[in-house]
Structure formats: C-alpha cells, structure tokens
Symmetry: C2
Amino acid sequence: MRRSERLVAMTDYFKENPYTHISLPFFVQWFEAAKSSISEDLDIIDAMFDQLGIGRLQTSAGAAGGVQYIPDYHMDLSKKKIDDIIELLEDPKRILPGGYIYMSDLLGDLKQLRIIGKMFGAAFKAYDVDYVVTVATKGIPLAYAVADVLRVPVVIIRRDPKVTEGSTVSINYVSGSSRKIQTMVLSKRSIQENSNVILLDDFMKAGGTIHGMVSLMNEFNATVKGIGVLAEAEDDEEDRRVDDYISLLKFQEVNEREGRIQVVRGNYFE
Amino acid sequence: MRRSERLVAMTDYFKENPYTHISLPFFVQWFEAAKSSISEDLDIIDAMFDQLGIGRLQTSAGAAGGVQYIPDYHMDLSKKKIDDIIELLEDPKRILPGGYIYMSDLLGDLKQLRIIGKMFGAAFKAYDVDYVVTVATKGIPLAYAVADVLRVPVVIIRRDPKVTEGSTVSINYVSGSSRKIQTMVLSKRSIQENSNVILLDDFMKAGGTIHGMVSLMNEFNATVKGIGVLAEAEDDEEDRRVDDYISLLKFQEVNEREGRIQVVRGNYFE
C-alpha cells in the first residue's frame, strides 16, 4: 500500500480510537510496510494533527512501544467556537416563562455538541479518568460527547430506580435552588470501586445536583477528579455548594420582561 | 502543503463533517493547491474509504459542484461486530430478577455504541432524515450515536413535562406489555412541521412505546421514515403493534432459573 493510502487509513484509525495504545507491528502487518515507513507516516500525522489543533500522537519506545492519539482542542479554536454558541444562545426567543432558557436544541445539535465535547475533552485530558458520570436526562448528551473524546464509559444516574438496572444505591439530597428533597439512584454494577470519575451536567445554579452526585460517588468509593458544567448561572457565591468546576458558558442576565439574555464565556476561558 | 499533509487534514475533515456539502474551492483555498491536485486527493480518499468499508465520497459537478462524505458500514463488518456484542450479552450474570437483562454498560461503552450507531447509520443512509427521535432515558445514547453518523439533530421525548422545555404536546398511550397508561411529552419547538424522522429505542417487546412515538409524531405532522431498535424480544407476532422496523439484536430466550440467555442477530441481518 502506498503512503498516501496508509495516511488516510491511519488518520481514520486514530480518529476512531483515541486514547488507545496501538503497537507499531499492528500497522506494519496491516499495511505490509517497513517499520521505518510507518514511523515516517506517524510523524506526518502527528505534525498535521498538531497544526490542526486536534491533538498529538504520543509514542512510547521499547518492547511494549507504540503510539496513541491524545485528542486536544486548541484554546484559540475553543474561544472562537464558544462565541458562536453564545451568539446562538442570546436569541431572546429562547426565554421561557420564569426566566428559563431553552437549550435543548443546542444539546441536540451534533455539530455543536461535538465541539463542546472536544472542549471538555481538552480540559480533562490530563486526568486519569475511568468514567464520565452524569444525571438523567439533560446531562446525558453532554456526557456522551465528552466520553466520546476521552473514550471512557458513561454512567447515568437516574431520578428513579428501574427494574432493568438491577440492585441500586440511592441517596437523597437537597436541590440548591428549590430546596426540595430529591433522589438519585445508581446501579451497583455501573462503577467499580476506587474509580476516578468526571461529573458532568448541562446547567448549574446553586450546585445542589452536583453536590448530590459527589455524595453518591462517595458511596461507590469513587474519586471525583473533575466537574464540568456546560452553563452556570450567576449566583450568590456563598450559596454555591460546589467550588471547583469548569464551565464553558455563564448566564449573566436573563431579563424576561425586556427579552434580554446576556451570556459570557465560562471559567474555562479565564 | 504536500499531498501527504493534505490527505491527513482532508480525512479528518470528512470524518468530522459527514453529509456535508463541501465545495472544491474550499479545499483549493485552504491548501493553496490546484483543483486538479485536490481532485486526485479526493480519489485517493474515496478509494481508501471504500476499501475500509466506511463509506464513499459523493462528488457533484457543475457550478454548485463539490463533494460530501456519505458514511457506510459494510455488512460483513457489521455481522462480525454484532456477533461480538451477542457474546457480551449472553453472559448469564446479566440476568436480573424478573428475567430482565442488564444492558446499561453496553449503551455506556462508547466503542460498542459507535459501532451500533454506524450500523443504523448504514441502514438509514438512503432515507432523507431531518431528525432522530427517541424517548428518555435509555434510548438517548443510541439516538446520539445514530445522529452522529447521519448528522441530524436528536429530539428527546420525555415522560414528564419540564419547565425548561417551553410549551409541549403530550399524548397518552398504552404500554404494550404492562398494559399501563403512560404519557409522552415533546416540546413544541423541537420539531418543525412536515419533517422526516427516524424513531429509535433500545428495546422493543410488544411495541407500545414505539407505537406511542408514532402517534406523537402525527401530532407534529412528521413522517416516520424508519424505526430502529437495538434489541427486540421474542413476542407473539399478533400482539406486536409495530411491523416495519429494523432490529440489530433479538433476545430469543432468557431463562432466569437456568441462567441462560440466547441472543441472535436482529432482522437487519436477514
């Protein structure tokens, strides 16, 4: 196989298998090419991925040597893309009664969602993550987009137990803004003991839900390595129950009467 | 930029933007290359994608001419991969009280989920789809995996209205197996009139849920172009309320007492 063909096949393979250790002999056999040719291919791909701002190939030497693709998403690109999303969100037609914002279309738009996933993937790439954990329903798309980049399993906390989950662990927690007591349920099978997890949700105000997720993770002896929310609302700092998190967007003002939404970049960009 | 570099960048671009019309001048400008060189690049990529079984580049001539990547997933590859999934599912440890099967880990496993998405993407590639529609909660990962391939928005039907959805349309329907009356709710903003949709769910027994989804789509004047379920259960044909669907897996027998699960390929492979 010629180099040009190999480059197409290898680019596809890396894109399909991020964070996956691939031995050089695997490529040597697949393409019936010399190891030196494969190494040159890898250099070309690595340089181009770097130039595109989408990550690097990490090579390791020795008997167990090989290569893996670590996705990234350059900060410059992230800023440009988040500003596009901000423009989408500042449309006054999104304001719902009670000052809520309609965002379901954004979370349903694969193009935007993939970009959001890449940003969180870049933010959490240095973490050694075993699972991405979210809570039904709105957090699910976000969690999958991030897990797609980090290539770890998604675990979904439910609001109510379901027979198809098997035995579960549940906790009660107090929702930060409404002060209501709510329940979270997670299948016992879903997380192995002593795992590292990232928590993700679409929206955070007082942080009660995230706080509940942290408590539930304690029940599984899991270590919360990072917390990400797509959007946070301006809130009294003292009321907030979660300090250490990454947000991509921040709703600064939602004025229902005057039909004005003001959104700015989240703390990831600070 | 050299051809080798262009091929890496273009392969990445096509993978990131399936079903997207790209004009040749876009590539010409990006790479500062002659149109003839770009055409040769496209031929190389098209041939390699075809050989890998992951789709083709479709070129159109004329003033509005250009190219788009139509993903596919070869039937041979699909059969091999579905048999791997069947092996995973036939593990007796998955049997839950009542003869239910634990599948949440499969739907949380990005590698498997992506493959499943590619299969449905191939099955529905000739359809002119505007939305992929599913119902919370279990269908969501599947819907996203398919929408990622078809590159259309995901629309999520809920079991209960939520304030952040705005005004909604709701229907009541009878669950096929339990004969309980249930509710489905969908935001009015989520689907435009006269759209073409694909319905997806993780599991189908009597088909009551899918039947309810079809009714709800009627309320939006949407045309159901296809129905896909990851797994179907063996059921009395006469009880089934949905005839025309694609399944990837079929549970033939779940014997709780003897700890035996028998899974076969679904009707997509017939």
